[in-house]
Symmetry: C2
Subunit: 440 residues, 2 copies
């Protein structure tokens, strides 16, 4: 179902505009990829508790739906209640142990590290134990309290509790280059295998050579061809299967781990905490909507329908056997960056968020739009100032400049002026990744 010529798709100016920056900056930084993990590990102690409820089954209940409702896996629910099948009956009492404070079972125990400069809160009920006590953590706790406590003058009804999160650099690592661009480059061999004549054509020839310097020098039009060849022209189901396969096997060079392991634990805790408080969490990313939707549920607990991203058109058609399918077209519908973020939020969600989280100039308008709403609003922006444990880039606050996830001094100044909270990765987070556990 590939398009006849992937080299001459009907590109629009807007498609170019969106992806060129992404591709160019990312490809330029290929040469700077770090092959080994050079960051030190810092851990902190946190304890978890759990609470138990007795739930009486009502007519029409299903065990799996009860599990979803309380965010308890089906297997756990069955084991806890000594059930050998999924059958339940009205009146039956189920013991449900919920623990909204854990992101996954692997976080249930933690080790202390004497090297951590600032001690985290050690209370057993701390839902944000990877956060050090400080202005950022306090702002989150205060915001949640005032928007979810009945009777509070800035109480927000559950239906209106929307929180939006940028992804690259806010929820997971974006340096030295966006994971999706790595995907595009690594897909080229398969694209060429399906169309061997491309092996001698540019830019495929250069990408196949593995010559990083040459790849970094590819002209704009060639980069667009790479994106079009790897992200468009196929059935949406085919794309999903390809992306899923890549994510299951590809590894980040610095940490030698799957990309989906490189999500930030403090942000996972924050999303889990907000959800436990009735917030609906959304990803609002400049990255490809279809790409992020492939792993959003397993990586963040966010279903595909709660991912807003840069999106291309699709085209409805029929296979030879008459079955309908959708083809990904090389025409951009939503450039979900900058002003495109609040516009995309209006299109896909239809409500102004109560809280928004970002890390770069591409998030400015989303943070402005959120903070400008009535009542209590929270806009937070993450500063990557930890070269040791992750990366350090700005150029705000004298940090090194970058083309990937730029955080300018002007943005930093706007944050101060508008009352957004700057999160310092170095100071506010006592732990960055879930996998750090037990490594020191």
């Amino acid at each position: 179902m590939k398009k006849p010529s992937i080299l001459k798709p009907p590109f629009t100016t807007r498609f170019k505009a969106a992806w060129s920056v992404l591709a160019l900056t990312a490809c330029l930084s290929v040469g700077s990829a770090q092959a080994a993990d050079q960051g030190a590990r810092h851990h902190a102690k946190g304890e978890y508790d759990s609470v138990t409820a007795i739930y009486e089954v009502v007519e029409g209940d299903e065990l799996i739906v009860i599990g979803e409702r309380f965010q308890v896996p089906l297997d756990t629910l069955k084991a806890e209640n000594h059930l050998t099948s999924d059958l339940i009956k009205p009146g039956q009492k189920l013991t449900i142990t919920t623990d909204a404070r854990t992101v996954s079972t692997q976080n249930k125990t933690r080790e202390a590290s004497p090297t951590q400069a600032q001690a985290p809160e050690h209370t057993p009920d701390d839902p944000l134990s990877a956060w050090n006590d400080g202005p950022a953590k306090q702002a989150i706790m205060a915001f949640v309290k005032e928007t979810t406590t009945p009777g509070s003058p800035t109480f927000v009804p559950p239906a209106e509790r929307i929180a939006t999160f940028d992804q690259d650099g806010t929820l997971w690592v974006e340096h030295p280059m966006y994971s999706q661009v790595v995907y595009c480059l690594e897909r080229i061999p398969a694209v060429v295998k399906a169309k061997p004549e491309l092996a001698q054509e540019e830019p495929f020839k250069t990408v196949l050579s593995g010559d990083r310097e040459a790849i970094a020098k590819l002209p704009m039009d060639d980069l667009i061809k790479i994106l079009a060849a790897t992200l468009t022209g196929m059935d949406v189901d085919e794309f999903n299967a390809e992306a899923e396969k890549w994510l299951a096997t590809a590894k980040n060079a610095r940490w030698n781990r799957p990309y989906t392991d490189l999500t930030y634990l403090p942000m996972q805790e924050l999303m889990e905490y907000l959800r436990a408080k009735g917030y609906k969490t959304y990803i609002v990313t400049g990255g490809g909507q279809d790409f992020v939707r492939v792993y959003s549920e397993s990586a963040y607990g966010i279903p595909p329908e709660q991912v807003v991203g840069s999106a291309g058109e699709t085209k409805y058609g029929y296979r030879k056997d008459g079955k309908p399918f959708l083809t990904k077209e090389p025409k951009l519908l939503l450039n979900d960056n900058n002003a495109g973020k609040p516009e995309g939020i209006h299109l896909m969600i239809g409500r102004r968020p109560q809280a928004a989280f970002g890390n770069s100039t591409g998030d400015r308008q989303m943070l402005e739009y959120t903070k400008a709403g009535d009542g209590a609003r929270l806009s937070m922006i993450l500063l990557h100032d930890d070269a040791e444990r992750e990366y350090a880039y700005g150029p705000a606050q004298g940090l090194p400049d970058t083309k990937v996830g730029t955080f300018t001094q002007a943005l930093y100044d706007e944050a101060q002026k508008q009352g957004w909270i700057v999160i310092s990765m170095k100071t506010d987070w006592n732990r960055i990744f879930a996998f750090e556990e037990g490594q020191d």
Copy 2:
């Protein structure tokens, strides 16, 4: 915040394409609006039961969130538990009476009508009591059973349970013209009041004259001006406020009731039933996404983020005081009709529905796309064959032809061939509107 000239907006061909059909057909039918309710009332007896659960409060619980979870209003929850405030504490036991089978309290009692040809199921637990027993009702029950019973070979995990509903003619009355077009025409006096010079310009002059024959003859370009003047050029919040105000006061001529009273009770029951079974219900409408989102929550229990519709672009900007806002632009982003429906579903939801419901040729591709998925899929299409209680139009099955909600014989034949279920309004529904109660 109006645009300088609403008469010369940068219309695109696609904007024209989407709205012209809607406007033209609707305006042509202005003259045929029926001023009085000529339909007879048919009621049927149905009894309701309720089930009670004891819920033990866990740490972090909020009364309002518990209410949302069990779909019990906060006031009901408080009254039932003799609470004078919203404060609850861990370990506290709450009595929760759930009734997933009622759409609203007004449906709790019903009267029998001896004139009803086909008797409905009278079992107390019937979640679809406004449906007569027959192939349509049986297909729904069988589909829900096989997709939600653990161990069923076609079991669907809760996260994948998506059901999409067309709106006009599927969830509420669309004849003699779409409610949104009535809104546009009725907004013209306010538009002219804000810009008095328009009073002498066409098409505003004609609309203000109230001359239905002349309105029906307005050329295409004039109709587009009406839509642009009433649906674009303003702040999104301003549009929402205007639409909300209109919906609260405008009345349908035939039934002399607010438009939001004209939703179909059997479809309300169906959506409620699907939600109780873990399905997420979406509206996928050719109508304006922003317009439908204004009332979707109160009319159908569907939040704005679960409404996919024809959508225009918005533009991010700043007021004089520096506050950011979004302006509705006269440029169509998604024409959510025909092939645009599955394309819109992919864009906004990202999963193929398990079940889809429509009533006209504009729903064909959505029904095809849904039914073509793996496992158990349900595609249903409503035939308006009840001139007495609502309207009768096709031209399928020899019914009168129409430009609003056309259901062709070819579509009827495709339904038979593809295994979609045709719902006969006359035969399958023993009651159409919730307000019919007690009128006979």
